[in-house]
């Protein structure tokens, strides 16, 4: 194959950092942007927690600082409207601007070409473009904080008519329009990345890199990319329809006879249906939650096999399970709508598919356990995060079973039980796996190791504080505490649970503080970290065959692949006197 090779020096600074053709630089762009949005989303969460534990008490420092701007009422307190902006934007930022871009834009971009043995993505131009579209979407969402009436406050799910009727709540004015534009851009960017990933994995594998030899991280990105290509456009269509409703006065999601708070009939043709929005939104957003978890599963598989020094248990089953999750993932969206007024018969169908999706998820869990069975486990930092991922994912997944059972979901729907469930899967799951990935591939990215002591502290405190924050939310949910309440203390029956809110808030602050350890570790290790060799972990993947940090265009010579990525402790490796053998090493005689 005669590919035009560009040496990095032939690109100016501008080209290299603003329109990079190197997939790794695009990944760095995502990492940095995601970290900033993560800090913002986390900060919003801290304000949420303050308000829930101490409703009506002025927020220290920030309350005085921000006076009556943003979420504050001038006396340092969070207003009910401000609270809704906080939850809406916290959820929106964390899902659309943090987790999806981190897992796909960040890890996907960085790892796919390295793991398949390619010099770059299939379409580097598109890749750079996708980043800028994502950033534009993020900035539009960010800008909405500064609007006179504030950011959107209809929840990250933006249910119509609340989100559509601008008199229904202040944030449904221009704030919601910004929200729609921001989501459209973020979604479009995600689709473009997905196409790129699919094309790269399908067409640019190194010779010998058969489907059965792909590392799980890449497999998971492939499956995820299907969601990004096929489900995300439906979100784009849904937000376009809502945009039409808001800007051009159509009424797709507005029924006939809708009234505003002054009992005035709301104009427009009517005839639409609020549940249509929910169907369209969840048709995308349920698959979106699997966009959040599949790459994390792939990463965890790579990490666990590497540090168990043992081949991944049931490679084919792992791939089949991901495919099954994708297939079923397209037909479970109605489980968010059990009490919406959707027909009970449809709910029954969705309950069936939702329960069944636990089967492939279980296969994954059991195969990870199988990998650990009679292994030779090295508890390195990445491994610790991967184990935390498995553990926390189980908790989050099992609470999903309660909600899949319709009669039980009637009670716990829209309570903190749901909040507990998904923070376990997205933070305990996806984010812990991401931390693992960062610690694992950091040497490849920077040529330095991350500090072990700081890492351990971050891991231990995060895990502890995470459970302290989110486990008691199950109890709140069982007690019947609704989500999206500016304060739960208005309800008499929730009074006895308030002490849990205080406890949760303290844990959340600890959790937030622990992230600074991580930040410090990043900065410290970037400059002072131990120098990393090419293959510090004794891992088999192609990315470990090239120097650390990985050079521009990755491979001097496109490698030839002889075996799968998990051949640890096997006979071939033994011949070399080690417990690993790289994918491209010639079979030893």
């Amino acid at each position: 194959m005669s590919e035009t090779t560009l040496s990095p020096s032939s690109q100016g600074f501008f080209r290299r950092f603003f329109w990079p053709s190197d997939h790794k630089v695009v990944a760095y762009q995502y990492f940095v942007t995601v970290a900033l949005f993560m800090a913002l989303g986390g900060f919003l969460a801290m304000l949420i927690r303050w308000q829930l534990a101490y409703p009506g008490a002025p927020v220290p420092l920030f309350g005085a600082l921000m006076q009556n701007h943003f979420f504050f009422d001038g006396a340092g307190r969070i207003s009910p409207q401000g609270y809704l902006q906080l939850t809406t934007m916290h959820g929106t930022i964390m899902i659309f601007l943090v987790m999806i871009p981190l897992l796909t834009g960040g890890f996907g971009n960085y790892l796919i070409p390295l793991q398949v043995g390619a010099r770059d993505m299939a379409f580097p131009f598109l890749n750079a473009l996708a980043y800028w579209i994502y950033l534009a979407g993020g900035l539009v969402l960010f800008a909405s904080f500064f609007l006179a009436q504030g950011a959107s406050e209809a929840g990250w799910t933006a249910y119509a008519p609340l989100s559509e009727v601008s008199t229904a709540t202040p944030g449904s004015g221009s704030g919601q329009v910004f929200w729609l534009i921001g989501i459209f851009l973020a979604g479009f960017s995600s689709s473009l990345s997905g196409m790129n990933f699919l094309a790269t994995i399908a067409k640019m594998r190194a010779p010998g890199m058969t489907w059965g030899r792909l590392p799980m991280t890449t497999w998971s990105q492939l499956v995820t990319a299907f969601f990004q290509v096929l489900a995300t456009p439906v979100l784009a269509a849904a937000v376009s329809l809502m945009f039409m409703d808001k800007v051009f006065g159509t009424s797709f999601f507005l029924p006939t006879g809708l009234h505003d708070s002054d009992d005035q009939l709301i104009g427009g043709g009517g005839g639409g249906h609020p549940l249509l929005w929910q169907h369209l939104f969840w048709f995308y957003s349920h698959p979106a939650v699997y966009i959040l978890v599949l790459p994390a599963m792939g990463i965890a598989s790579d990490l666990i096999s590497t540090f168990a020094r043992k081949p991944l248990f049931g490679y084919k089953a792992m791939v089949a399970a991901m495919t099954a999750i994708m297939g079923l993932g397209f037909v479970v969206w109605g489980h968010h709508m059990f009490v919406s007024g959707m027909s009970p018969a449809m709910a029954t169908g969705f309950a069936m598919t939702t329960l069944l999706i636990a089967v492939p998820s279980g296969v994954k869990v059991f195969n990870w356990l199988g990998t650990l069975w009679r292994a030779n486990i090295h508890l390195t930092l990445p491994m610790l995060y991967a184990l935390a991922f498995v553990s926390m994912f189980i908790v989050g997944g099992l609470s999903g079973i309660f909600m899949a059972a319709t009669p039980v979901d009637v009670y716990i729907h829209d309570t903190y039980y749901v909040i507990a469930h998904f923070h376990y899967v997205v933070f305990g799951g996806s984010l812990f796996a991401s931390f693992g990935a960062i610690h694992y591939w950091f040497p490849k990215m920077t040529g330095r190791m991350m500090n072990n002591k700081l890492g351990l502290a971050h891991w231990a405190i995060s895990l502890l504080a995470f459970n302290g924050t989110f486990f008691p939310m199950h109890l709140l949910g069982e007690g019947g505490e609704m989500r999206r309440l500016a304060t739960s203390t208005e309800y008499q029956y929730l009074q006895p649970l308030q002490h849990w809110n205080v406890f949760i808030t303290h844990s959340a602050f600890l959790l937030g503080a622990a992230q600074f350890i991580f930040l410090i570790n990043l900065i410290y290790s970037l400059q002072k970290g131990e120098k990393a060799p090419a293959n510090p972990w004794g891992a088999n993947g192609l990315e470990w065959t090239i120097p650390s940090p990985a050079p521009a265009h990755n491979f001097e010579k496109i490698p030839r692949v002889y075996r799968g990525p998990y051949e640890y402790s096997g006979p071939e490796a033994a011949k070399l006197g080690r417990d690993w053998i790289a994918q491209d090493e010639e079979p030893p005689r």
Partner: protein, 189 residues
């Protein structure tokens, strides 16, 4: 001028990428068509006297068909390396695209004049949304066609490099297909 070349693998890769893009676009439009079908089932009364005249739509169908023909020509000629002919074909496609938009604009003007706005009822809501997004796609397509025509005129395309024209052909085909569906669902059935 240094002629850019590409391997057959690269051309195949680019086409593959375009198919993925088309799949994604298809899902995007499918959501709108689903919306339209739901509207028609829920509100048959909106179609009782047929709300749209067929005349201009048929004109546009002809324009679209013609543009597909010129586009196919462009793809063929680009492959053969007849760059100048390809350029002419591409330009014609762009012009026909503009004509399509012009006719559509005239149709819009008539409807708006008759008080038929997106907010009038759900039928027109669906109609303006679908045709609007189709129009937006055509507009973007015209822009790309213009660039391609310019590049073809410069002689960029030859038997060893023609994938941009190929994928443009695929894209244009999708727009034609979407138009056929629009014609069927809003004007004929």
């Amino acid at each position: 001028m240094s002629a850019k070349t590409e391997t057959p693998q690269r051309a195949e890769l680019v086409a593959f990428g375009m198919w993925l893009f088309l799949a994604s676009e298809a899902m995007f439009f499918t959501a709108f068509f689903a919306m339209t079908i739901i509207m028609r089932v829920a509100h048959p009364e909106l179609l009782a006297p047929r709300p749209l005249g067929l005349g201009l739509a048929l004109v546009n169908t002809a324009v679209m068909a013609l543009s597909v023909w010129t586009m196919v020509g462009a793809v063929k000629k680009a492959r053969l390396g007849e760059s100048a002919v390809a350029a002419r074909n591409l330009s014609w496609t762009a012009v026909l695209g503009l004509l399509f938009l012009g006719v559509k604009a005239a149709e819009y003007a008539g409807e708006i004049h008759g008080g038929k706005l997106p907010s009038t009822n759900l039928f027109f809501g669906c109609y303006y949304t679908l045709t609007g997004f189709e129009g937006l796609h055509v507009l973007i397509g015209v822009g790309v066609l213009a660039v391609l025509a310019w590049r073809a005129k410069r002689g960029d395309f030859h038997p060893n490099f023609h994938s941009p024209v190929d994928v443009m052909g695929l894209y244009w085909g999708l727009l034609a297909l979407v138009w056929v569906f629009i014609l069927a669902i809003f004007y004929i059935f």
